[in-house]
């Protein structure tokens, strides 16, 4: 997805990244920082201290009105009725055949007002989808006017707290408050995509630079550093969080992908339900598993998974895990090969390289539960 003139889109912080010396790359139609100093260094800084991410390329939709809840119940797989005001929910949009339109988070801002955060590359597709199937409610696409910063790591809370006018210690995982940070009106949510404690801060695009600079300054004593999409990817990989377009897409169903926990078949009808029920009854034919390489080799998206020389699946994500210090990956394998310890091969440049199915996440999550 590119702008109408074919050029890449830029977040409000683009000039800040360029000034900081970031390496800018195309990602989902956007020109984004892939790294500032180095992926491994940035990755480790998040696990050890705190990192600051510009994820303003992500999309935000607001849905309001007496029919908003019913519309979201039809559109998404999780049970929105259980969501309290101030709470966040991970969920999916599915097609009638159970394929995934997108994964997203749903924020309940008020009884009849919700915000959806969707993947950058899917904003136009998702907007068309909710416009077509979200009838009865009022929808607004806030993507262009909304900036989103993530502050992630064990020192994230103390860093954000220095700027926030609300007590952050009481915010539980997947809850949020609306307040100010550095004087900027901000929705502060205890969520993230790294497996570390931390926050995602939504603000007006016009305030993005002010908030970014204030966070870098406030976090300086804790060693905060800006972190690019490269480390964002390796951090989420160590957690085995799904990446849309890699691990999940319109051809994968939630149960194959291990996302059954956000599919609530007991709630009212939703798009994709019948197809997902069928997979549940028959049992998934393939499963998304985490593996580590036994042989020295790097598995990459799209590489074939083999068993005894025969095709048995496909790698959906793979790289070096900078903190687990192993070559790790995620892929779909035939269901009978999905148990922990199962030996598989990954075809790397024509050569089968040994790998083993291992428990995931690869690194224990440090998020603040309860």
């Amino acid at each position: 997805m590119t702008s109408s003139d074919g050029s890449l889109k830029r977040t409000p912080l683009f000039p800040v990244h360029v000034r900081a010396g970031a390496k800018m790359v195309p990602f989902g139609g956007w020109e984004m920082p892939v790294q500032y100093t180095g992926i491994i260094e940035e990755h480790r800084a998040v696990r050890r201290a705190v990192g600051l991410f510009d994820i303003s390329h992500m999309g935000e939709f607001e849905v309001t009105g007496p029919e908003a809840l019913a519309a979201l119940q039809r559109l998404t797989t999780n049970d929105v009725a259980t969501l309290e005001v101030g709470q966040v929910q991970y969920s999916l949009l599915c097609y009638p055949d159970g394929g995934i339109v997108d994964d997203l988070t749903v924020y309940r801002l008020a009884k009849d007002r919700f915000m959806l955060t969707v993947n950058a590359a899917n904003v136009d597709k998702d907007w068309a989808w909710v416009s077509e199937h979200g009838g009865g409610a009022r929808w607004r696409n806030l993507s262009a006017e909304t900036a989103l910063l993530a502050v992630q790591g064990p020192k994230a809370e103390r860093c954000v707290q220095r700027l926030a006018d609300r007590d952050l210690s009481g915010i539980r995982y997947y809850w949020f408050v609306e307040g100010r940070a550095a004087g900027v009106p901000t929705l502060i949510s205890r969520t993230g995509y790294t497996g570390e404690d931390g926050f995602e801060l939504y603000a007006a695009a016009a305030d993005a630079e002010r908030l970014w600079s204030a966070l870098l300054e406030a976090g300086a004593p804790d060693g905060i550093m800006p972190v690019g999409l490269g480390a964002r990817d390796t951090l989420r990989l160590e957690m085995r969080y799904a990446l849309y377009g890699n691990d999940i897409d319109q051809t994968t169903n939630p149960l194959d992908a291990g996302l059954g926990w956000v599919v609530k078949l007991g709630k009212s009808d939703f798009i994709g339900r019948r197809a997902i029920e069928k997979v549940k009854t028959e049992g998934p034919k393939r499963k998304l598993v985490g593996f580590e390489m036994v042989d020295r080799a790097v598995a990459r998206h799209g590489y074939r998974i083999l068993k005894d020389g025969r095709e048995a699946g496909v790698v959906t994500s793979g790289s070096y895990g900078p903190v687990v210090d192993k070559f790790i990956g995620v892929g779909y394998v035939a269901a009978h090969l999905s148990q922990i310890g199962s030996g598989i091969d990954v075809e790397v440049r024509g050569t089968p390289r040994g790998a083993r199915v291992v428990p995931t996440p690869f690194y224990p999550p440090q998020v603040k539960k309860g």
Partner: protein, 130 residues
């Protein structure tokens, strides 16, 4: 800024060769390692293997990318840098020194004429490097 020692010869695929008598030491340039980012894996041929000028002899992988390595000169592999197995980051830290990859017994010394000098390589980079 990256530097390009004058005693090396360069390929347009961003490898360097240091001719030492009838042997050549081979690695990748400062520009190459910078473009790749953190190197996490280097796949090299075995000692005794034959490599051919501008044919792939191995692979270097960074966190994000996979790149073929091209031989600057033809010949037999006499040594490989075994330290890169445990410490692939040497390619980033010291591309012309501890990050070397191969020593080749050069079979066709005249092939060196096809390689770029340091000023030619820098000029090539200035034009975009590809």
């Amino acid at each position: 800024m990256a530097n390009y020692p004058a005693d090396l010869k360069y390929t347009k695929e961003h490898e360097w060769a240091r001719v030492e008598g009838n042997r050549a030491r081979v690695g990748i340039t400062a520009y190459a390692q910078e473009q790749l980012g953190d190197v996490v894996f280097v796949e090299l041929p075995k000692v005794g293997a034959k490599v051919s000028q501008m044919k792939p002899f191995g692979v270097v992988e960074s966190v994000k990318a996979v790149s073929d390595l091209f031989a600057p000169l033809s010949g037999e592999v006499m040594e490989i840098n075994a330290e890169l197995v445990k410490k692939p980051e040497l390619v980033n830290q010291d591309p012309y020194g501890k990050g070397w990859m191969l020593v080749v017994a050069v079979s066709s010394p005249e092939e060196a004429k096809a390689l770029l000098t340091a000023p030619q390589y820098e000029e090539y980079l200035a034009k975009g490097g590809h």
